[in-house]
């Protein structure tokens, strides 16, 4: 167990994590549709294990403006989860939620709070499905929002992953309502939590 890393994880385990990602993102999409009261489609999520330096590139470059919602996970498993959304997608969602289009480079306090709520619901439904599938108790902590360059926001999960390796496990989801919204989940369980997740699904480790 001591030498367990994301890099040495076998394909079977990786497939399980992919499936968890798919279902979680699916539930998050449903929640989003309910919140916006419109139909939201979702593409099949892509689950990738990426090197730090490639993550920001995937999101459109290190300086791409993103909104990031970050929260801790407690209970049977510990770690954290982050949901990232391109800033222009974030603006679209907030406008829709508040019933009026928003403009400009900055968000008002009201818009920030709406965006925080979006993040809450999306990450919450994601964690819910994880909890239901694994029968593990998972409690989210208070979420926190940052709007900044992709690389700067990503430094936070990268540092957490950095303690155990040089890669990030990323789930990329595309939502569509009228426009395409690119969202990214980064799930950061501590290594012992991976074992718990897998064994709760009846998969023994090593």
């Amino acid at each position: 167990m001591a030498d367990l890393t994301l890099e040495t994880m076998s394909n079977q385990y990786f497939d399980v994590l992919k499936e968890l990602g798919n279902i979680g993102a699916g539930n998050a999409t449903t929640a989003l549709a309910q919140m916006l009261q419109c139909k939201v489609d979702m593409s099949v999520p892509q689950v990738k294990l990426l090197e730090f330096k490639d993550v920001a590139t995937l999101m459109g470059g290190e300086e791409q403006l993103m909104a990031g919602i970050y929260l801790g996970v407690e209970g049977d498993i510990t770690g954290s989860i982050m949901f990232l959304l391109e800033q222009k997608s974030a603006r679209h969602l907030v406008g829709k939620l508040m019933g009026m289009p928003t403009e400009g480079d900055t968000f008002t306090e009201m818009e920030i709070s709406a965006l925080q709520e979006v993040g809450n619901i999306i990450t919450g439904s994601y964690l819910n499905s994880l909890s239901m599938m694994t029968n593990l108790k998972i409690y989210p902590t208070i979420p926190s929002l940052a709007m900044d360059m992709a690389a700067a926001i990503l430094s936070v999960p990268a540092i957490e992953f950095g303690v155990i390796g040089d890669n990030i496990l990323l789930i990329q989801t595309q939502f569509f309502d009228e426009i395409q919204l690119d969202g990214y989940f980064i799930l950061i369980p501590e290594l012992e939590s991976y074992v718990k997740i897998l064994s709760s699904l009846g998969i023994s480790w090593g």
């Binding site: 001591a2 890393t5 730090f52 330096k53 920001a56 470059g61 290190e62 300086e63 403006l65 990031g68 970050y70 929260l71 801790g72 996970v73 407690e74 510990t78 954290s80 480079d105 900055t106 902590t141 208070i142 926190s144 929002l145 940052a146 709007m147 900044d148 360059m149 992709a150 690389a151 700067a152 926001i153 990503l154 430094s155 936070v156 990268a158 540092i159 957490e160 950095g162 303690v163 155990i164 390796g165 040089d166």
Partner: protein, 161 residues
């Protein structure tokens, strides 16, 4: 023609004038720019974690403040810089989220800055200027020609330290 050399996350590189060296979107990571003003050999390290000795999986040298700075200095000396003349500037180490959950991750930006300062002090490299902390990301460009360290952030005027 001068080139701009790019340094990624957990990465470092050496740069000789008239070229410049940049790293994009420093968050809680710290960018350490070092220069020998005589030979105009410079370098930039983008470190993520303070201390390699606290981590089991620590083979990635540029990831840590202690090993990253030592390696940068070594590479600069190999390019003709004199260690005794080196001066440094640092930026980054922000706390990106008002709240971060895990105890050891609290103040990670601040701890990265402290670790960088400590390692530079140990190597007797004076810090001429710094722009650290706060809660926003920074893109930095370093010019070994004159030592300018340009800092850009979203919605803020550009700074030169």
């Amino acid at each position: 023609m001068s080139e701009v050399i790019k340094v990624g996350m957990a990465d470092l590189n050496v740069c000789v004038s008239p070229n410049s060296i940049t790293t994009l979107g420093l968050g809680s990571c710290v960018g350490i720019a070092i220069r020998d003003p005589v030979t105009k050999v410079g370098g930039l390290a983008h470190i993520m974690l303070p201390d390699s000795t606290q981590i089991r999986n620590n083979s990635n040298i540029p990831k840590f403040a202690d090993t990253g700075i030592a390696e940068l200095v070594r590479l600069m000396v190999a390019k003709g810089a004199n260690k005794g003349r080196m001066v440094a500037k640092i930026a980054g180490g922000a706390q990106m989220f008002a709240f971060q959950n895990k105890m050891e991750m609290v103040r990670i930006g601040e701890r990265n800055v402290e670790a960088a300062r400590k390692k530079l002090a140990e190597l007797k490299i004076p810090i001429l200027a710094s722009d650290t902390g706060d809660s926003y990301g920074r893109t930095v460009i370093f010019y070994p020609e004159n030592g300018d360290f340009v800092i850009k952030a979203v919605g803020r005027p550009q700074k030169v330290i």
